[in-house]
């Protein structure tokens, strides 16, 4: 077990380092430090001298990968990559181009994101399981067919549609919830109802359909026939046997949802004005702020890697036959 953990941690570190390099490479394939400076300094009357000063002050005045003017190891170390990118590997997130501490910003923003992500995760997974089990009760009936059609329809609709419709119907027509905004503390509840409902709805189609397929597959197994032969009711068969034995694929798919939620539902946070990690990512991209982009990609990768690791442990919990080696 310990060997397994050590091996996975080493793999994870390599993955994170690779992602860090790729982020740097991709970012600076599109943007140049000059672009960044011009965006920060504004479009008017920006002199070359101001750009040079900005780059020097933000550490973007050196070559990106190889400093041919420097000698020895400085050829590699006196570069934008080493000075601006490697720090993140010892969790130094640095500062935004406006001088805000990124670690502090992450700390401030993880709250709103968690406040939205937690109920979404619980409700979306829970509801999807309930609906999928419900459909199992009526499988191959007209109700099941109607349900599947509805699920496909839900899957086919863009999340943007749900957002705009949700805001229009509940925020505007019915005036039951604020259209956008956020407030810390207990006041956040009214701001989160609508985005959580919208996110859950947009997830419902795909998740329920997946779980329905999983349950269907399980229903064809021998232990189900045995359970029925014992005279158990259909609901007992589903809830006690089928659900338990379907947990591994459910954990896998739910595990994928969690990091996506934690790194911020970008469009959702943007439309609902939630100052979470998703809107921070958007801010970084719009401002061509490499430090933010790098931090958010790193954070996202870290959450994914961690989630996969935890998912593996969850497999072992859900299925005693699984051995982590």
């Amino acid at each position: 077990m310990i060997n397994y953990i050590v091996r996975r941690v080493i793999y994870s570190l390599l993955v994170l380092a690779g992602i860090n390099f790729l982020t740097f490479f991709l970012f600076f394939s599109i943007n140049t430090p000059d672009d960044m400076a011009r965006l920060q300094l504004g479009g008017k009357r920006v002199a070359a001298e101001a750009i040079a000063r900005w780059k020097a002050e933000h550490g973007y005045d050196k070559p990106l990968y190889l400093n041919l003017k420097a000698g020895g190891t400085a050829m590699l170390t006196h570069t934008v990559f080493v000075e601006n990118s490697l720090g993140i590997l010892h969790l130094n997130f640095g500062k935004t181009l406006e001088g805000r501490d990124i670690a502090w910003e992450l700390g401030k923003r993880v709250g709103p994101t968690l406040a939205m992500a937690t109920p979404v995760f619980i409700v979306a997974v829970g509801l999807s399981i309930v609906f999928a089990l419900g459909l199992m009760l009526f499988r191959y009936s007209t109700l099941d067919t109607v349900g599947v059609v509805a699920l496909v329809a839900l899957m086919s609709i863009s999340s943007l549609f749900f957002i705009i419709t949700g805001q229009y119907v509940f925020g505007k027509l019915m005036a039951l919830a604020p259209l956008s905004g956020f407030s810390p503390g207990p006041g956040m509840f009214k701001f989160l109802v609508l985005p959580v409902a919208v996110y859950v709805l947009s997830q419902l189609g795909a998740d329920t359909r997946l779980y329905r397929t999983i349950f269907l597959e399980e229903l064809g197994r021998d232990y189900v026939r045995t359970a029925r032969a014992k005279g158990l009711s259909e609901s007992t068969v589903l809830l006690t046997h089928v659900l338990r034995n379907s947990l591994i694929p459910i954990i896998t798919s739910a595990g994928l949802l969690l990091p996506a939620l934690l790194t911020g539902a970008i469009v959702l946070e943007s439309f609902f004005g939630i100052p979470g990690l998703g809107s921070f990512t958007i801010e970084g991209i719009n401002n061509q702020d490499f430090a933010i982009v790098r931090a958010m990609v790193f954070f996202g990768s870290f959450v994914y890697v961690l989630t996969y690791l935890l998912t593996d442990f969850a497999y072992a919990w859900a299925d005693p036959r699984v051995r982590l080696q």
Binding site: L41, R45, K95, V169, G171
Partner: protein, 746 residues
């Protein structure tokens, strides 16, 4: 059923509330608070660096320049703000001898601006100024551990301070001017390179500080570039002197009458040295504590809260006795813009800005009454609403019911299509024959581009937008309306109005240019023009298509190169564009601020200036220098007329439109005279909070019945499901056909 009932009861309870969708407490909505939104956090609140329009609601509310524009008068009229009046410069020759006011420009070596400040102007309460009874600063010698965990200036309490403010002096203005040149200020000034050409000694100071700064950083670990405070008070700047606490003297190289306008911008405001001394302490920057985030000023408001989604400005308790103007323009009284004449400013207690990344929720919240204006920094977004109202489409009835104020205004802004004069096809040309051919091609394209149609389709049919006949917009000296102001290359005067020349005129010019029917007569190949635009996305595509159609009228094929702003600017800098779409918003209301865009010294490729067309005409340049130094009057008008005549003939731009603006304000907002030039307008605004609360309640009554209907529909759906489930549970082997193997069950 139990759950359904409970849900319905909760919904009914919710329905009992007055307003369920309010993003703020109703008490605040009834208060003296102004609500607006922002789509991007301000990048710079340090007056050294702040130059973007979206930062102005904060910078001009917290800082006070020396001058400002009269809030109501048009054309815009400068007057003293912290200065007692607009300074009139004295002129000296190269030997330091005084010259008369009308001395020839070439004789003037130095202009001296002596500015008298109003006495007793005090800074907002701020920890950098906090002293104990013994006069010692409370927060100037903090250890990093004392700063750890503090991320707001409010984390440094002022209750122990005997004083937390002081009077702003002339030395504070001098200090700020030195900051413009100082590399110790964390973000560079976009305006330094302009100012160092005019303010005596600023360039030398900047060069000296730059060298010192580089020496101080030499051999430093790039991960720790911390430098202690640089006391700029001790740095000599020959052109800027604080003669006494209330007298500032600035020496300007040569004659530069437009300098007075820069005195009305936030680059020259009082900054206390104590603020830099406070923020430079080790640990402050790590916690985002700097002037860029937490300004210190003498303005009507002070920043008291900021987060990713909310900024709050509160009334500065130390703000001086400033009054709402008592005079304005004809019609101002009818608009109610003089109702608060003589009242003490600011009229608001608080301004709250909320983050709105997307336009749709921001507009919807405006219609619900939760924003008093959508974006305090902009008034160019009201056209769509005005169009709906005038065309009786969309939300026109709601707009009328809500009595939304949609107030048009002329603003000094222009949009145009530029020709790159370095390009062999549309540019200046190498030989005299080529020059004539290219010029005729540019003129033909200018005629064919129907800007009247452009603004009618995409912009503003009912507002004050108009076709540009030259670079100088209406409202500025030098602009001529009517027949005298038309561009004879593209327009004729017919039936009392300017009419675009017929397309045949353009086609004739195309023939003269050697492109009959859009084909090169020598090669027979169609003329292909590359059109650079920084507008991308579906919303912009219609405009690009429109442009392609304009040139297609002449048989010209257009290839659009739409790119992001970075790539667009890069092409401009390298001169790789052929024709391009761009615009300019004035820094100040003087024709110089538009005419300089076509001077040789501003050439984008050669000098990295603002002349993206790289247009060069010695006569124009000569007239520009003359015009710049002249006071408004017939001689200046004559020079401008000739300059306009030159650029109309040469056509380095297809003069597009002067877009105008439409301010959007709720019915309870008072004194909202729309303007893009006057930036300190928030202090004049007033809201009727109780009326807002009443209207918000009226417009946002929760409608719960659809929820009941939805629950009913759900119940109807669940009933057969329940019946089916019960039937299946009650079934036995005889009545049920289970085909597990095939997976079917019925």
């Amino acid at each position: 059923m139990g759950w359904g009932f409970r849900l319905f009861a909760a919904a009914a309870l919710l329905g009992g509330c007055d307003v369920a969708n309010a993003p703020y407490p109703l008490g605040d909505i009834a208060g003296n608070v102004f609500y607006s939104s922002f789509s991007e956090r301000p990048k710079h609140l340090d007056p050294v660096s702040s130059y973007s329009v979206n930062e102005t609601p904060w910078t001009y509310a917290t800082y006070e320049p020396l001058l400002h524009y009269h809030y109501l008068k048009r054309p815009y009229t400068l007057e003293g703000l912290t200065a007692t009046d607009v300074p009139i410069p004295r002129y000296l020759d190269k030997d330091g001898q005084a010259l008369p006011e009308d001395a020839p420009t070439e004789q003037i070596a130095t202009s001296i601006y002596t500015i008298k400040l109003r006495p007793g102007i005090r800074y907002q309460p701020h920890p950098s100024l906090a002293r104990n009874a013994a006069g010692q600063f409370l927060y100037h010698d903090l250890k990093p551990e004392q700063i750890a965990g503090k991320h707001s200036v409010l984390d440094f309490p002022l209750d122990r301070a005997a004083t937390s403010t002081r009077v702003a002096t002339a030395a504070d203005y001098a200090y700020q001017i030195k900051r413009l040149a100082s590399p110790w200020v964390p973000t560079p000034s976009p305006i330094y390179n302009l100012f160092n050409q005019y303010i005596v000694g600023l360039k030398e100071l900047g060069d000296r500080l730059k060298a010192e700064h580089a020496a101080a950083l030499k051999d430093r670990n790039p991960r720790d570039l911390y430098l202690p405070w640089k006391d700029l008070r001790n740095e000599p700047l020959s052109g800027v002197q604080a003669l006494d606490d209330t007298t500032l003297q600035i020496q300007v190289i040569g004659k530069y009458p437009q300098f007075k306008y820069w005195l009305a911008m936030s680059f020259i405001v009082p900054i206390p040295w104590e603020a830099d001394r406070f923020y430079v302490q080790r640990g402050m920057a790590d916690n985002s504590l700097n002037i860029n985030n937490w300004p210190v000023g003498t303005g009507a408001f002070m920043l008291t809260e900021q987060s990713a989604n909310r900024y709050v400005l509160k009334r500065n308790p130390n703000f001086r006795d400033a009054r709402y103007p008592s005079d304005g323009m004809p019609g101002d009284a009818e608009h109610g813009w003089l109702a608060d004449a003589g009242k003490r400013l600011p009229l608001l207690d608080q301004i709250v800005f909320n983050l709105e990344k997307e336009r749709e929720p921001a507009e919807a919240k405006l219609m619900q009454g939760y924003y008093d204006t959508p974006d305090l920094s902009r008034i160019d977004i009201g056209f769509s609403l005005l169009k709906e109202q005038m065309d009786n489409t969309g939300r026109s009835q709601t707009l009328r019911d809500h009595k939304l104020q949609l107030v048009p205004a002329n603003e000094p802004t222009c949009w145009y299509i530029g020709f790159n004069m370095l390009d062999p096809v549309v540019g200046m040309g190498d030989t005299p024959e080529q020059q004539i051919r290219n010029r005729k091609l540019r003129q033909a394209m200018s005629i064919a581009t129907d800007w009247e149609e452009y603004y009618a389709v995409f912009f503003d049919t009912y507002g004050p937008s108009e076709t540009a006949m030259g670079p100088v917009p209406p409202g500025l000296f030098g602009y001529r309306a009517g027949q005298a102001g038309i561009n004879p290359i593209t327009h004729i005067w017919k039936d009392g109005r300017a009419v675009r020349r017929p397309l045949d005129d353009a086609k004739r010019l195309m023939i003269d240019a050697g492109y009959a029917d859009g084909r090169d007569v020598k090669t027979g190949k169609p003329l292909l023009i590359f059109y650079d635009s920084n507008g991308v996305g579906p919303a912009y595509q219609a405009r690009l298509n429109w442009q392609v159609k304009q040139l297609a009228k002449l048989g010209i094929q257009t290839e659009v190169r739409a790119s992001d702003y970075n790539r667009f600017q890069e092409r401009m800098r390298k001169g790789n564009e052929q024709i391009y779409f761009w615009g300019w918003s004035a820094d100040f209301p003087d024709p110089e601020n538009f005419l300089f865009l076509l001077t040789t010294s501003q050439g984008k490729v050669k000098y990295d200036g603002e002349n993206a067309s790289n247009y060069a005409n010695p006569e124009y340049d000569e007239l520009y220098v003359k015009m710049r130094a002249l006071p408004d009057g017939p001689e200046r008008q004559k020079a401008i007329d000739r300059m306009l005549s030159i650029v109309r003939e040469d056509a380095p731009w297809s003069f597009g439109i002067f877009p105008g603006s439409v301010g959007i304000y709720q019915q309870w907002v008072h004194n909202a005279k729309p303007t893009q030039v006057i930036q300190d307008r928030s202090k004049y605004l007033r809201v009727d909070g109780p009326l807002r609360a009443q209207k918000v309640t009226e417009w946002n009554k929760p409608k719960v019945w659809p929820l009941g209907l939805a629950l009913l529909a759900l119940g109807i759906l669940l009933w057969p499901a329940l019946r089916l489930y019960q039937r299946r549970e009650a079934a036995n082997a005889r009545t049920t056909r289970i085909a597990v193997a095939s997976g079917r069950m019925s």
